[in-house]
Symmetry: C2
């Protein structure tokens, strides 16, 4: 099958670029002796996870219980990097196959107590990472004392096992030059926190950091044993804007069709926010909700649910109804979640198709 | 089952409110002798579509081919209000059961020629609406002459049948007082366009307008025979901001759990943009990506993929890890598309669950 035969809108992944992205991160981690535990939120696909494991990933990182359930078929080492709060969530986590060596990240005593009760009832050891806020200000304890208090609480709640700490440097998304100072600060903070844990007699076995924008600088952070990048498999406009990937490293595009040119100065494609998401770029990183592979000067300037409005004012391109375009999304992880199948292509040939099996919640009554 | 037993994040629909919303629109249409052909993009669910048909809907409106395939099991009268461009799309449309009296909306000669060829090959009559741009500037022909030229082209391409015209007043979203003038202008434009069609000997049998914000004013527009509102079944913050529904008419919420309170001044819930979407409100209509049913002063101020950040700075509420909240989304149609199942509740009792069967594209190789 050729790419022009595909119904649109549909996600298309360039398999050569995907392979290259997978190789590059695996090699970086191996070269620096850092464990790679990729976050599968970006692809939600066993097909891609298998490739990551085949290249030496030490395990997989998930956010949702459904992701963990799907990925448990591929690895025995699963980190759920999300606070395990709520009876239903705990029940599902405890229901993972017994062979799975589960690890979770959390930041509260409430989460520890709930998990401890569930783990005890299930007779299941669970490794715990204490999530530390080192600047992202999303989740994570904000003081060293509180982090140590929680780590100690974990040690007092068998079958929980204190495994280490994790942090997410998602606030560092600036270009390579501008992130030198925040990275240096982060390195200093990590050193301080780890020293405090050591002093408390709670040396973290695992120090888990990393995200795609800073992944290739992880070796500059003292003590980091693992990284959890996700987006690197596909990349997107946001990652390109951070300098962590080049435009030609974007493996994932939405194939779309021009369906209307009736209104002057624009063309309408069949990829709206239900196909492409409505994720903004950071201020200064560019405009629009996606850009055309073949016409980088053309961005998706606006969207309805099933309509994407291409801004033609900076282009000499004159699209016709029926023309096809490939769009690089701003934030690919969101786009994956909107779609059920991915077409893998080499050149113009559609080589394979795979399900986004960990999409959704699989939550029924 | 009680609502507190549900795993989060999950969509919850208040069945009493849903019934009331369905009744209200059906009654309005009946009272004014206007055909109601609801757009099912909002719910994508046979369960809700059946209720709309039972209340007298003349047919259903869809955007995607998959929506049309799913809804064809419930009605013989389907409008695909989307340009039928591309071989794969046409093939699927022509594959709808023969009993379905298909109608499509389009705005180009290219779309007409493609559809005519496919319809001829399939031996299938297809009714065509010419989409007119009356101010939305998304799709739709912008000149009366072009609209008439396309209508005439349809009459020359059997088995296509010229059925009428449609427009989408989606640009009129201001509050009730502020939309008097644009509505009056729209009424005048509709009158002018219809007169020109009449004069050309192409009297439109169907004049299809309407969207939820202006639906209850459709009788003020001359000649409108049908309306296609979608969002009215659930409503959302955006609709409330237009005055077309009250806050208590919002039937659809996302049930979420507080998973972290570690960072001061905020709480984190497990509904991020993969559960709640990242649709902005119009400027002036409010801030954030959703608001809490029980704490209207608290909005979701920021989101990651699986994290929603509640802004607590204007509230005296002190959430604890494990607390549950219900969030009214900004734009519910997007949220439906993110989820696979809907829980229907009355009070605290979970009465039913239904699949979002027309979600996604169902597109395979």
């Amino acid at each position: 099958m050729q790419i022009h035969e595909l119904e649109t809108p549909t996600p298309v992944v360039d398999l050569d670029v995907l392979d290259r992205n997978l190789d590059r991160m695996a090699r970086y981690a191996a070269d620096h002796g850092i464990g790679l535990r990729p976050h599968i939120k970006t692809h939600k696909s066993p097909r891609v996870a298998r490739e990551q494991l085949a290249r030496g990933a030490v395990g997989l990182t998930c956010a949702t219980t459904h992701e963990a359930e799907v990925m448990a078929d591929l690895t025995d080492d699963v980190l759920v990097a999300y606070p395990p709060v709520g009876d239903a969530r705990l029940r599902r986590l405890m229901g993972l196959p017994a062979r799975v060596n589960l690890m979770v990240a959390l930041d509260s005593a409430e989460a520890i107590e709930g998990l401890a009760a569930a783990a005890k009832e299930a007779g299941r050891p669970v490794r715990v990472l204490i999530e530390c806020d080192l600047g992202m200000h999303r989740v994570g304890v904000t003081s060293i004392e509180e982090a140590i208090r929680l780590a100690r609480l974990v040690t007092e709640r068998p079958p929980l096992v204190f495994a280490g700490v994790n942090f997410y440097p998602g606030h560092i998304r600036s270009g390579e030059a501008d992130r030198k100072a925040p990275l240096a600060q982060l390195g200093q903070d990590v050193r301080t926190w780890l020293a405090a844990f050591d002093k408390a007699g709670l040396k973290p076995g695992i120090v888990s950091g990393g995200s795609t924008p800073t992944a290739f600088e992880s070796h500059q952070l003292p003590g980091v044993t693992e990284i959890r990048p996700g987006t690197y498999v596909y990349n997107d406009r946001e990652i390109v804007s951070t300098g962590a990937a080049a435009r030609e490293d974007c493996a994932f595009t939405i194939l779309a069709t021009v369906v209307s040119t009736a209104v002057p100065g624009q063309a309408v494609v069949d990829a709206g926010c239900k196909a492409l998401g409505r994720e903004p770029l950071r201020v200064g990183a560019g405009s629009g909700f996606g850009e055309l592979v073949d016409h980088p000067e053309v961005v998706v300037k606006g969207m309805s649910e099933e309509h994407g409005i291409l801004d033609l004012t900076s282009s000499t391109w004159k699209p016709k109804v029926g023309d096809r375009v490939r769009i690089i999304p701003n934030h690919v992880c969101i786009v994956t979640h909107l779609n059920d199948f991915i077409h893998g292509v080499r050149g113009d040939r559609v080589e394979t198709i795979w399900p986004v099996a960990a999409r959704g919640r699989a939550a029924k009554v």
